[in-house]
């Protein structure tokens, strides 16, 4: 916080116009560089209701979102599976064009579609940000993915999600984890359907920023290899690079600017 400490004029001294003027210039700078935090607490509150801001019915909170609908629809085949829940059409050819098929074993990538899950902004001031990603995850049955030349149909894809801020993960967003002791399980969600929201809060400095919802599939495991549920699958007849999807999705960003200099 800037402070104004006038030196004053000494008795008997010669008054220099420059020195005298500096006293006023410093006073002007203090006033010009004041933020709201230098005002007395509750200065702008109504005396009878602290929720009323006497300054203006405005706020520094900026709310932004991007979203994309992606229908879970039937493939239209009669018989069992003729509905979006039982056997959703998760093919590139005839499923919803807005389904995002998570690339297999290729690391995290932006969840794209007609509306990508990405928000960019530039701020002049430090900000506290809250980011939430609400989404529908869905994948084909494990029997729809075949291990190469094994005759077995037990492949278990895992879905990983994170919210990336300026290239780094916002701590606490997920779900994803790194493999421990070489185990393949537990790196992501194995659920066939999931409808959830992951969120995180962090501080950002002034500048240009990007927040992105990303998805990945780590290496899948299968039971075809020696009967171990943790067995690594290295080759597929039907790889899980199609049919492990993100459906409806919304990325929400709330920005809380920390202050602004005010000038006269």
């Amino acid at each position: 916080m800037s402070t104004y400490l006038p030196k004053g004029l000494k008795s008997g001294a010669v008054i220099d116009p420059d020195e005298l003027g500096d006293e006023f210039i410093r006073a002007s700078k203090v006033a010009s560089d004041t933020t709201q935090n230098q005002w007395s607490d509750a200065s702008f509150q109504d005396a009878t209701n602290s929720k009323i801001n006497l300054l203006k019915a405005g706020t520094g909170v900026i709310a932004t979102e991007v979203s994309q609908a992606a229908l879970l629809r039937t493939g239209g085949t009669p018989g069992w599976g003729n509905d979006p829940g039982q056997a959703p059409d998760l093919t590139v050819a005839s499923g919803s064009a807005e389904l995002y098929h998570i690339p297999y074993n290729s690391g995290f990538s932006t969840i794209t579609g007609t509306q990508d899950m990405e928000i960019n902004w530039t701020s002049k001031y430090p900000e506290l940000v809250l980011v939430a990603f609400s989404y529908q995850g869905i994948r084909k049955r494990y029997t729809d993915f075949d291990v190469y030349n094994s005759g077995s149909d037990h492949v278990f894809p895992q879905t990983q999600i994170r919210i990336s801020l300026n290239g780094g993960t916002i701590i606490g967003t997920g779900a994803y984890d790194h493999p421990h002791d070489g185990a393949l399980r537990g790196q992501g969600m194995q659920n066939r359907p999931v409808r959830t929201t992951t969120l995180g809060m962090t501080l950002v400095p002034p500048g240009s920023h990007s927040v992105i919802a990303e998805a990945a599939q780590p290496q899948a495991y299968g039971t075809a290899l020696g009967g171990s549920s943790a067995g690594s699958v290295t080759a597929f007849d039907n790889p899980p690079d199609e049919g492990v999807c993100i459906g409806h999705r919304t990325l929400i960003l709330l920005r809380f600017p920390k202050g602004k200099l005010i000038g006269g």
Partner: protein
């Protein structure tokens, strides 16, 4: 703003001192309160992030919850053979059962603003008694709201705010009984309502989270019989429109 000070070597006069005082006074008196209100953020400004309901001192933030003891079980009567999500399925032709709702007489009158809606719940079980095949049961939900912009109420429904989870059958060894219908699946849907472009106050009449039993194309006798939502929570927070 520059301070008008006397030049070095000049004679200081009462006027030159007064000019400097006036320069500083102009700076202080010209602090724009609007820029503080619009862009500042501090403990004393934070409450104003949430606008009051128009004509009241009540903050535009409301929550409605369903505790476990009041779990909502949706039966087959409201089931739907859903081949595609649509507003007609959810809102119009075949009403679903309400899981949790935020509503009050006259609605919530708000200024132009953005509203963050948060629905979080737990789906405890999908009951399916018949196990003659491996059909599965589905639990669907949809979150939507009704608004009034000065005329009649308008239902605002969006596909993106739907969700679905299902259970694979867990058949006991004799293949005639389900070992369990419990799934205990948490679900969530958050989204923003953007009414910042409005020029007049508007009314948020209600927000609803509705659910249904999804059956697929199974024979009627084999369809799941109920879905139970527990611990559902529906909230909204109005945020003043962006500066």
């Amino acid at each position: 703003m520059a301070v008008s000070k006397p030049t070095s070597g000049s004679t200081i006069t009462p006027t030159s001192v007064t000019d400097m005082y006036d320069s500083v006074k102009d700076v202080v008196n010209a602090v724009p309160v609007s820029s503080v209100g619009e862009s500042a953020f501090g403990p004393h400004v934070l409450p104003s992030c949430i606008p009051n309901l128009v004509g009241t001192t009540t903050s535009g933030a409301v929550n409605s919850a369903v505790a476990t003891a009041d779990a909502v079980t949706i039966t087959k009567a409201s089931h739907n053979v859903m081949l595609l999500e649509s507003e007609g399925d959810v809102v119009t032709s075949t009403p679903w059962a309400t899981v949790v709702e935020i509503t009050k007489s006259g609605g919530y009158v708000l200024p132009p603003c953005k509203v963050l809606v948060m629905f979080d719940a737990r789906i405890s079980n999908i009951v399916k008694a018949h196990t003659a095949d491996d059909q599965i049961g589905q639990a669907w939900f949809s979150v939507y709201y009704t608004a009034n912009y000065g005329a009649s109420d308008v239902t605002e429904w969006e596909t993106r705010n739907m969700g679905m989870v299902f259970t694979a059958p867990s058949i006991s060894s004799d293949s005639t009984l389900l070992a369990s219908s419990t799934i205990e699946e948490p679900v969530s849907c958050w989204f923003l309502i953007d009414k910042s472009a409005l020029t007049e106050n508007w009314t948020l009449v209600n927000i609803k989270a509705v659910g249904a039993v999804g059956t697929g194309a199974q024979a009627l006798s084999r369809r799941p019989t109920s879905v139970t939502f527990t611990s559902a929570n529906l909230s909204f927070i109005a945020l003043h429109k962006d500066s």
